[in-house]
């Protein structure tokens, strides 16, 4: 399994093989949003560009969205989130994954932060 990468908007992506990455929102993001009550995932097969809105997230407190960490084609979504959005609160970087993206241009990954850089980034936010 390759390394996890993060965006400034608190999404993560982890490449499962050379072309497909699984993504979701970070632990920091779920903590800031609070308990999630609704998630709307995209349909598989659609294409997204890096930074475009790919999923809708509603918590008890607020509405948010997941922006695609890289551009590509949605190949799979985590259907269990429709009935159990709280999975994202419990395990944001594991069982609470949102979708898998077939990455169009792997150089887009290079602009993302690794785990250490992301930790420093969120430490600077408080």
């Amino acid at each position: 399994m390759s390394d996890i990468k993060f965006t400034e908007d608190h999404e993560w992506i982890r490449m499962e093989d050379d072309e497909t990455g699984v993504c979701g929102i970070s632990d920091y993001a779920q903590d800031q949003l609070g308990e999630l009550v609704f998630i709307e995932l995209p349909e598989t097969g659609i294409e997204v560009s890096q930074g475009s809105e790919a999923a809708v997230i509603e918590s008890v407190k607020a509405a948010g969205e997941l922006k695609a960490p890289v551009g590509g084609t949605i190949v799979e979504v985590n259907e269990t989130l429709a009935d159990e959005p709280e999975l994202v609160n419990k395990d944001p970087q594991g069982d609470g994954w949102f979708m898998k993206i077939k990455v169009q241009d792997s150089s887009e990954l290079d602009a993302l932060m690794d785990e250490d850089a992301y930790q420093q980034y969120i430490d600077g936010l408080d």
Partner: protein
């Protein structure tokens, strides 16, 4: 991505329970000039459920507590609002609305006849506006005092009475909307049996320097946990209670807001002290002839919450109203909302669509409240 901006500005004020919020790991936000807890470690959903199942302690010290004394207090205050205060008995509490010349609502508040004086609890965000209004419009023998040195603690939920019985035995004799001056855990307090959750409960006005001690005594019961503004908001929404600034404001009248019940008979047309407050002509006309829009409950289909400011359209796509409060009702286990709609679209069961992120989502008009109130009326 999270758009919650905890604006902890240096000039936001701390309540006397600030240390308690820290001890319980609260997430703090700036609200109406105060640093207030949104939620504690358990989170909004669990705090909401615990309030309905047992009891929760809410710090509501940000609200304005005002004392109004003098022999003209009642008659003078009556000139600002459509409520019978002259007829309000000793140790009785009443919900009231301060009106403007257009019949709009300047604030909603609780008024209690404390015998020696009236005790008012006003919204934090309206405190300054209310005081300015009182100072320029109250006259005769009328003394206004802002109680800056008191905290306000709400204990809400079905277990509240049992908890209070241990700390203030006589308190449980009170019925809904009654008040008493009693010692709670040995601290002299002024309590009312009321709240903002739809549950039985008490609001306790306590000297600021004893607030931490009182909160500690209440929280020493296994049934009581702290709850923040997040749960307070979802609880009051399910209970169909208005939030000032969202569901009612200067542009909405009591009749449009479905608050006719708060207009005392004595102050309505034909009553013994009819009128004599700002906006009486508008309110009288609306009582007689009806209104063009009204506040209703809204239940969205599916799981997605529909938030304030969302537009509502009818089948033909015509705009018929707007959501004023919306979120997730933890007890009804689904999204709930309140809205103003054209009266012709306001009948229970009417199907409308909410425009959420450019997509039409089906909703229906529903009866308020969404949960049955459990006030201790008898």
């Amino acid at each position: 991505m999270p758009n919650e901006n905890a604006d902890k500005t240096a000039d936001s004020r701390k309540t006397p329970l600030f240390e308690l919020h820290q001890q319980y790991g609260a997430k703090m936000v700036d609200y109406a000039g105060y640093t207030m807890p949104v939620n504690y470690r358990h989170g909004i959903l669990k705090e909401h459920a615990h309030t309905r199942d047992a009891a929760s302690l809410f710090d509501v010290s940000h609200m304005g507590q005002v004392k109004l004394g003098g022999k003209d207090a009642a008659s003078s205050l009556e000139r600002l609002l459509p409520v019978d205060l002259i007829g309000l008995g000793n140790n009785r509490q009443r919900y009231a609305l301060i009106t403007n010349e257009r019949g709009g609502i300047r604030d909603d508040l609780m008024v209690t006849n404390g015998g020696e004086h009236f005790f008012l609890v006003v919204n934090a965000s309206r405190k300054n506006a209310d005081l300015a209004n009182f100072e320029s419009n109250l006259d005769g023998d009328c003394q206004l005092e802002v109680l800056e040195d008191r905290a306000l603690i709400a204990l809400q939920g079905p277990a509240a009475a049992a908890v209070m019985k241990r700390l203030a035995p006589s308190s449980t004799e009170l019925l809904f909307m009654q008040a008493a001056r009693v010692d709670v855990a040995g601290i002299e307090c002024f309590i009312t049996r009321s709240g903002y959750t739809g549950e039985d409960g008490f609001e306790i006005s306590v000297p600021a320097d004893a607030a931490m001690e009182l909160a500690g005594a209440l929280l020493s019961s296994a049934d009581v946990r702290p709850a923040g503004l997040g749960a307070r908001d979802t609880l009051r929404l399910e209970a169909g209670l208005c939030l000032y600034g969202q569901d009612i404001d200067e542009s909405t009248t009591p009749v449009e807001a479905g608050l006719k019940w708060a207009l005392s008979k004595a102050r309505r047309p034909g009553g013994e002290r009819a009128g004599g407050y700002p906006g009486f002509d508008v309110i009288a006309r609306q009582l007689e002839g009806g209104v063009e829009r009204c506040r209703v409950g809204i239940v969205p289909e599916g799981r997605a919450p529909v938030r304030a400011e969302t537009e509502l359209v009818d089948k033909s796509g015509r705009k018929v109203g707007k959501i004023t409060s919306g979120g997730y009702g933890a007890s009804v286990r689904g999204p709930v909302a309140m809205a103003y709609v054209e009266t012709s679209s306001g009948a229970e069961g009417t199907r409308l669509e909410a425009m959420v992120r450019g997509k039409a989502r089906p909703v229906r008009v529903a009866k308020l409240p969404f949960v049955k109130p459990r006030y201790h009326r008898a």
